[in-house]
Structure formats: structure tokens, C-alpha cells
Symmetry: C2
Subunit: 483 residues, 2 copies
């Protein structure tokens, strides 16, 4: 029955396997698992993880790259009933340790040989562990936290987003109402599973009963091949990936059964849209973030050119409004984008960032407006966020690392445009008196403390950083130094 | 955000009209309304009803037959935020008054000229009322009661089922995961909107953004025409309707774009399934009831012959189990069917029938079993329920009316099979000493007190009724007298 606070739904994978056991669930590097086989493999990994000491209610971190075993472990942990913390596979040891400690993780499951203060379970050790019976979760409460993801690596502003089972269910519901559901649907996941863009594909797959084709990492040739010859009908993507796929595709065309590209990470540039239109490829441009458990707005392909640059309208269970000076903005008036919906996180771990949640709305910090027809246009990412090849880079986090270098007095970081990655970080440094800039040394310093995609690709030395009247760093003004 | 107890979603129709204003929403007798037009019409009716005195939180009854205005009123009442009580259009005045009083209805909206103790608003008077501005509901809490439907007409066992917004949302979600969602979907509603089978089509339409073709009542020729020439792709139906449509269809075939028939009201007989199979018509056999806000289990067409007589497997958010002697039954072992899911009612009005809700499960009273593959087979309807042409007839209610007749000492009612209606009620009477059976008089007596479909079609006179050791009437044994 539906009584709020008590509403539960059957365990995602167990229910799916009991309804459609023989349907294909997962394709990975030449192997295929049905939903029943996926259930069995996930149960096996859950039983091994139980023997390793993992039990219901614990907080278990995963740092892995896409592979079938990662899928088994994700579902296995849900069967046990842990809260699963997804670590970006590209974090440095230093960043990872910070997140593990901050989240108070009980275990770290990883595919690499490493050392950690947390209890480590490597993939190879898990494989060799015997099974131990455990109490399989049959139902999940919708308000239970299923997954956790940090929005940045370290620093005081790092916030870990909690995603509940209810969030995931309503995200899948909103998406299906928007994209439809056909018998032949087959989703290509070339996004990392540690991102909400990748993880949500996996969860939609078991809820919808349609298969996922999982790639270890994004490769334009392999991605095209999956669409051309392996029956993939839909794919999640960011602009840079799409552009590389079109380059690789050349004169070929996707089959008519290909439904389209779900494009996140900011609006697609006009020339790219023109190329996809010419090719007859449908592009669904979306707006979303970790806090909204995947998309919260999507632009229909028929509006892609008419509403160029827009992220479309909210998903059915969601609302978007623009907030300015403590009131709702008028149409076409820019302000802060705020969102509401059952797919929006109930909050951050340790109750951080509470000020972003007011009266049921989440204030994204992103700037944008709604046009006269209610279409969302994003003007600027929150907190000067730099999106580099689909990864979020927070300037403040990078600045905090740079400032810790003995030669650096102050640092300002901004995004500069890049042909491959869309944007990359670039740094303006103010050196301490007498210090000399040694780029190699700075790079080495960063490499130990920052995931590779966060390390500034260009540097300039300034006498002072541009600041506004209240002495706040104006990062936008840094851009001119890199033109 | 998803916090249980506080989760809200946008108002169904207002959200749909803001997302896809120009899509077709409703077809009725040659007219068509887009979602934006439907929103405007519903707002107009809501504003008129406001002027009539209807306001948020009230309990408003509707007794109408299918028509476009009924749709405007249903959505209009949701915009105001009433609890809407759906009265069966075939109830006698006497039955209707009982329900209005029992539910403590504030208003009765009706399309007929009648008298009532409740405040009556006739359709013609509403049409002539001026608009009055009101505070339009923008969001609905998922735990709010949206609709109410009685499971029987009167008597002590009459229970009014509350359906929340959450119930309707999860019902639509479970259905879309089962039936899919295509761009050309168009649902024919020839079921009464006062039944959950009809109402749920209307609600799915605004949630999915796909149109409904509404018929005033079921007519096999018009229904076939809608499929053959008006682009209808799916239809909700019961066996007797399907059989009459096939008779009328003759040698013609439905177009390939026709998706299938959602068949409720008990399993389809074998010859009917063979006819549909021969015609290439997909039939989705379902199990559901007012308490589950439409379907809760469905049999996939590919299993229709292999699992003959089964109602299939639960919808994705739902669970079904068989309960016997205070434990879960084994596979193939019959017992009481119990169901669980976010589409299941939180309970009956006035807290009646609480004993049917235990530990999150609703005990349906229906008998059935799950086979070794988890497919549900229903053996017997709860409480000797008779389903006659899709309408529920409760023997106890009919017996109570018969027993009130001055000539009748005792009455027993059972269902006997009927070529057109599947089953019809039949009565065994024990007369008072010296009384003589006058069928015309009994029929007249019933007609004043019972909806037509509840009136027994055949009668026999017995010296005593068959009773078991504890003196309980054994209705099944009555059947033999009518063979």
C-alpha cells in the first residue's frame, strides 16, 4: 500500500529476475548475462562480500573501472543493503583517502593494488573468497539511502550527495515518460558507473527490463560499432564524445532502429547539432546533476534547433523555477535555477550544504532562465564549475591545492575552452616573494593531490588576482589571460 | 526531493499541459482536445464548481456517464483538490443515497434530474454557472486521497476504497514498465470512468502524455471502428466485450499498429484466447481490483496459451504471495491471495475492513496459487463475488435486499454462468409460512433497491438453504439448482 514513510518496493534486481528471468541484462566484452544470470552472479558476489565482513547498513566504497564484476558488486551490495559510496576512478590516493575518512567508510572495494587506512577488499581477493549465506534484502524502503557520490574531491566544500531508492525509482519513471519504452531498447553505457550518468543506466536497465551494453571506457570506434552492429538503440553522452563519434563514423549512418543520444554536461554547440541533424541522429539535450539522480530536464529532438542552447522542460515528476532576489523570476529573466522533484536528493552527508534546500526546493547555484514557452536555458554553471569531458572540476578545490605549494601565495582557477574536452582548467598564480615559477614542480605537486582531469593545463603568473569590491575572486576575469 | 511523507509531484494535468501543450489529449464523439485545451476546459469547470461552493478538502461525489464534461469535471476537481467519490452510474437512488450519507459527501454532481439529501449540482446548472477564481493546486502530496470508490452498493459490508495520488502514480509506473510506451499510443476507454478500469486510463493519459478515445458506453461496432480507422493502439476490456467485438469484426483484421487488449475481470476462456490468437491480437490478461488502483498482475501475450488461465506475474513495484494457515504457501498450493505495492490503497473510508491489512500486505480474500514459475492462478473470487459483465455483485448485498421483502424468510444468491455477461446472479428463496412466490413483485421490489446488474435473473424456492456445520450459508451449493 502507499503510506508515505513506509513505502517499499521489491529489491530491484531480484524482482526483475523473477519477472523476466530470460531476457538479456548485460553485455560486456563478448559475454552476455540474462537477468537471472545477473541475479545469480550478484548473489555470489554478495555472499563473498558477506564473508569479507560486509553487512547491512554499512557504508561501503567502490573505486573501480567499468567491468561486469563491478555490476555484480553494485547489485550485490544492494542485496546486502549497504550504502554504496562511488569513488571517481581517477582520484589520487590522497583524494580517495580524504573521501573515505570523511564518509567514515567501513570498506573500500577496489580493482587496483593500493594501500588505504580503510579496510581494503581487492577484486582478486574477493574472487578467491568463499560464499557465506546472508539475509538477502527482498524490499527496499523508498527513503533509504542507496548510493552516495561526492561532488568534488576534497576541501571544505566537498559534499557527498545521498541518493535514495525513491530518488532512483522516480528518476527512472521521469525518464521513461520522456523517452518512451520499446521492446528492442538497448542502452550503451560508455560513461563511468561511478558517475550518476552511468549508474542510472544500470538502474534503469533492471527497472525497465532492458539490456545494457557496458564498455570499459569510451572509445568512439567501439561505441559506433555497438550502434551499427550490436543493436544499441540509445546512448548517454556528452558533447565531446558525440563529436568524436561523428568523426569516426565518417560516411556511415546509424540504423533506423537507433532511437537517439541522451546528451548531458551542458548544451551542445550549434555545429555539432547541425552535424547530427544532417545525419538524422536524434539528440535529447538534458540538464541534470548528481543531486537530481540524473536528468531533470530534457529537450525533445524536434525542438533541438528551434530552441538552440536550451535544456528543455522538466521531467514529468519534476519542477524547475528561476529564483531572483527572493522571488520567482519572470519569463526570460535570469536567476538561480532551483529544482524540485522526487528524484532530488534529500541532502548531503553530514548535513552539509543545508542552505541549498529550502521549502522542498534545491537551489542549484546554476544561473539560467526560462523562456516564454517554459524552456530552460542555462547561462552559467554553479560555483564557476568547469565541466571537462563530462567530469566536474571545482576551481576552489584546485586553488586550495595550488595554494598549498610552498612557492604559491594565491591561486585562481578558471575553465578555458578546449577542442577535445570542451573545457580544461587553467591557473593564475601569485608567487611568494622571491619564488620562481617551476611548472614541472607544480605539475608534480598537483599530480599527487589531484585527479588528472583537475590539473590545470595552462599557467600564468600575476602580481595580483582580479577581485571585486568585497575582495572576492572574480574567476571569470581570469579567462582573458588565456586567450 | 524525496523525503517520505512530504513527497509531492506536480498537479497531473497542469504539468502535462505545460510539457506537451499541443499533443492530443481527448477524443470524444467527433471532438478533440489537446492537453492545453483540456487544461483550459478543466480550469473553467473548476472555476464554475468553485462558484457552486466546492472547495479544497471537500468530499465531492460524481454520478455520471462517460462524456467529455465528466473528464473536465474529474480534472477540475483535482485542480481544486477535493476527494472525489465515484458513484456507479447504475446505482438506484436508494443505493446512491446510502453511499452519499455513508461517505458524508458535501456535494453530488450528476447528469440526471434527481433528488437527493446531498447538495445536488446538475450538469445543466453547472454549465450555466459563472466562473469564480480559486487557488489552483500546483502540487499534490503522494499520500493525499485523490479518489474514492465503493466496492459494493450498501449493507454493512460496503467499503469505500481510498486511492491516493501515490497509488495512481505507481499504478501508471507499473503499467508502463509492463506495456511499454510508444509515440503513437492511443488508448480506447469504453469502460465507465466511475470504475477504476476506466479512471486509470484517464490518469495514465495525462501522466504518459498520450491520448484517450472516450466512448459514452461500450459498443462493439464503434470500438472496432476506433481500432480499424481511428488509430487506437490499446484497449481495456473484459471477456464478454472482447467476444462481442470479435463477433462484430467478422473477417476483418486489426492494423499491425494495434498493440493489444488489456483484459481484466477474470481469466479469458480458452476458445476466446484461440480466436484472438488466430486473429493475431495480443491479449494481456490482468488481475486487479479497486483496492490495487487497476492491474497488479499481468500475463504477457507470449504466455497466454502456455499459461492458460493465469493472470501472470506482478507489476514491477508489486508483490503477490499466497497465504495459508498463517504461513506463505508453497508453489502450486492454493490459499488466499495477498498483495503489496505502492499502488495498493492505504485502507477503506471510516477505517473499515482493517483486518484485511496486515504488515503492509492487503489480503484480497480471493483464492489462488502461484505455479512453479511464479505465475498467478486465481481460483475463486473473494466473498463469493459474482462478476457480471465487468461489474462486481456481492451476494450478501442482494440477499439482504431479498430478505427484506415481506414474503421472504431467507435468501441465498450465487452466480450462474451466462453467455453474454459471464455470470449473472440467481437467487434461492425460503418463503415465510403461507407466503406465495410472485416473481414480478420480487423483481419490482429489487428494482427499487438494487442496480439492474445486481438483480437476480433466476429464482428457485427451497425449504431450507444449504448450510455447513457452523450454520454458514454455502452459496456454492446453490449452483446445482440452476443447472
Amino acid at each position: 500500500m502507499f503510506i508515505q514513510g513506509k513505502t517499499s518496493i521489491p529489491q530491484f534486481l531480484i524482482q526483475r529476475a523473477s519477472l523476466t528471468p530470460d531476457r538479456a541484462a548485460l553485455f560486456f566484452e563478448g559475454s552476455c548475462w540474462s537477468f537471472e544470470e545477473l541475479r545469480q552472479m550478484s548473489l555470489l558476489y554478495a555472499a563473498r562480500l558477506t564473508r569479507c565482513g560486509i553487512s547491512r547498513g554499512q557504508l561501503v566504497a567502490i573505486q573501480m573501472h567499468n567491468c561486469a564484476e563491478m555490476v555484480f558488486i553494485i547489485h550485490g551490495l544492494m542485496m546486502i543493503g549497504t550504502q554504496t559510496l562511488f569513488l571517481n576512478g581517477r582520484l589520487t590516493d590522497c583524494e580517495r583517502e580524504w573521501q573515505l575518512q570523511d564518509a567514515e567508510a567501513d570498506f573500500l572495494i577496489t580493482d587496483r593494488e593500493t594501500e588505504s587506512k580503510a579496510a581494503i577488499l581487492t577484486l582478486s581477493s574477493i574472487r578467491e573468497t568463499e560464499s557465506q549465506p546472508f539475509s538477502v534484502r527482498r524490499e527496499m524502503n523508498l527513503s533509504e539511502t542507496a548510493t552516495i557520490m561526492y561532488t568534488s574531491g576534497t576541501t571544505g566544500r566537498a559534499k557527498a550527495v545521498k541518493q535514495t531508492y525513491g530518488n532512483h525509482v522516480f528518476s527512472a519513471f521521469g525518464s521513461v515518460l520522456n523517452l518512451g519504452l520499446r521492446d528492442n531498447d538497448k542502452w550503451l553505457c560508455a560513461m563511468p558507473l561511478f558517475h550518476i550518468s552511468g549508474l542510472s543506466i544500470l538502474i534503469r536497465s533492471v527497472i525497465y527490463g532492458s539490456p545494457v551494453v557496458l564498455h570499459r571506457h569510451f572509445d568512439p570506434k567501439l561505441a559506433n560499432q555497438a550502434i551499427l552492429t550490436e543493436g544499441v538503440t540509445i546512448m548517454s553522452i556528452v558533447s565531446t564524445m558525440l563529436s568524436r563519434m561523428l568523426d569516426e563514423l565518417g560516411e556511415e549512418d546509424y540504423p533506423k532502429t537507433f532511437h537517439g543520444m541522451l546528451l548531458g554536461g551542458g548544451p551542445a554547440p550549434m555545429p555539432l547539432l547541425e552535424r547530427t541533424t544532417a545525419k538524422g541522429i536524434r539528440v535529447f539535450q538534458t540538464y541534470g546533476m548528481t543531486e537530481t539522480s540524473s536528468q531533470i530536464a530534457t529537450l525533445a529532438p524536434e525542438d533541438a534547433l528551434r530552441k538552440l542552447g536550451s535544456s528543455g522542460k522538466p521531467l514529468y515528476p519534476c519542477q524547475i523555477s528561476i529564483w531572483k532576489n527572493d522571488r520567482e523570476a519572470n519569463r526570460n529573466e535570469p536567476g538561480e535555477i532551483r529544482v524540485k522533484g522526487p528524484n532530488v536528493t534529500p541532502g548531503y552527508l553530514h548535513d552539509r550544504g543545508k542552505e541549498a534546500f529550502r521549502e522542498g526546493w534545491f537551489y542549484t547555484g546554476d544561473l539560467g532562465y526560462l523562456d516564454e514557452d517554459g524552456y530552460l536555458y542555462m547561462l552559467d554553471r554553479r560555483s564557476d564549475l568547469i565541466i571537462s569531458g563530462g567530469e566536474n572540476v571545482y576551481p576552489a578545490e584546485v586553488e586550495s591545492v595550488l595554494s598549498a605549494h610552498p612557492d604559491v601565495k594565491e591561486a585562481g582557477v578558471t575553465g578555458i575552452s578546449d577542442d577535445i574536452w570542451g573545457f580544461v582548467p587553467a591557473a593564475a598564480l601569485v608567487l611568494k616573494e622571491g619564488a620562481v615559477f617551476k611548472q614541472e614542480e607544480i605539475l608534480h605537486f598537483c599530480k599527487e593531490r589531484l585527479a588528472k582531469y583537475k590539473i590545470p593545463k595552462r599557467y600564468i603568473i600575476l602580481k595580483e588576482l582580479p577581485r571585486n569590491a568585497s575582495n572576492k575572486l572574480v574567476r571569470k576575469e581570469l579567462s582573458k589571460y588565456f586567450m
